[in-house]
Amino acid sequence: MSLIGDILLVVGCAFIALGSLGLLRMPDVFNRLQAGTKAATLGTLAVLLGIGFNHPGWWAKLVVIAGFVLFTNPVGSSSIARAARKAGIKPRVLARKIGTDG
């Protein structure tokens, strides 16, 4: 039981580390947000699940935390992306422009 929990903790931390690497490697704010959001969300969930395995008595509160993370994390990223776009930051587009609005 506690071994599964530890493995999940390590996996969660690994995803967050990969997200940080993405934050460093990606070229502009939008791509960086993409790396940060997904990794932080799944990483946090895996860590919470790992804690749940190590401390079975805490699961109810962990579910609440996971729910709030799932609701607020993407909203925060979308808000930053929206603000960046309104501030006039153009996304780096390598290919031909696509869609009706750029």
């Binding site: 995803f15 799944l42 109810a60 994390n73 993407p74 979308s78 992306a81 996304p91 696509i98």
Partner: protein, 174 residues
């Protein structure tokens, strides 16, 4: 987000939903099914529902049916698979020395009308492989796509990014 005229007025299922969501949060936070806690939770949830139920407009988009819980579960299952795929996809891109990205902003169209539905769709898109919702304007979502196949138009983008989520969400949301 703008309110849309098609949202139905508040009805008793709406208040019931507010009540049960409050009660669920109470039970999870207390972490016990002890009778005293449950009675206190029912009283507090009823008070919250009566006092503030009118303000919880976010729940108005809910489509009430007996199958709704199953639809929510199937949505959650699909969502978590997509979230894990998103992370593996991202890990592969970040670790590859050539950094294979081809970013673009695309527009997609949604048939969901309620604020809650659009919010959940936007959140789902943000957490799935290679896409990030940048803005929501009426029925259009502006999406940043890390690896956009060349020559994609609105229909193809809608089909590839949001169609599956929208199918799941539209079963229990307006």
């Amino acid at each position: 987000m703008e309110h849309t005229a098609d949202i139905p007025p508040l009805s008793w299922p709406h208040y019931l939903l507010v009540f049960f969501v409050s009660l669920l949060l109470w039970v999870l936070l207390t972490g016990t099914f002890d009778r005293q806690e449950l009675v206190a939770g029912v009283l507090v949830s009823a008070a919250v529902t009566l006092l503030f139920g009118r303000r919880f407009e976010i729940f108005t988009g809910f489509r009430f049916s007996w199958l709704a819980p199953f639809h929510i579960l199937s949505y959650l299952g699909y969502f978590f698979v997509a979230l894990i795929r998103a992370n593996l996809d991202l890990a592969a891109r970040v670790l590859a020395p050539s950094l294979p990205i081809n970013p673009a902003l695309v527009e997609i169209r949604t048939g969901l009308k309620s604020p809650l539905g659009r919010m959940l769709l936007a959140n789902s898109i943000t957490l799935t492989p290679g896409t990030l919702t940048v803005d929501v304007v009426d029925d259009r979502l502006l999406v940043h796509w890390v690896y956009c196949p060349p020559g994609t138009d609105l229909h193809q983008a809608t089909e590839r990014i949001s169609a599956a989520f929208e199918r799941h969400l539209s079963r229990f949301l307006i």
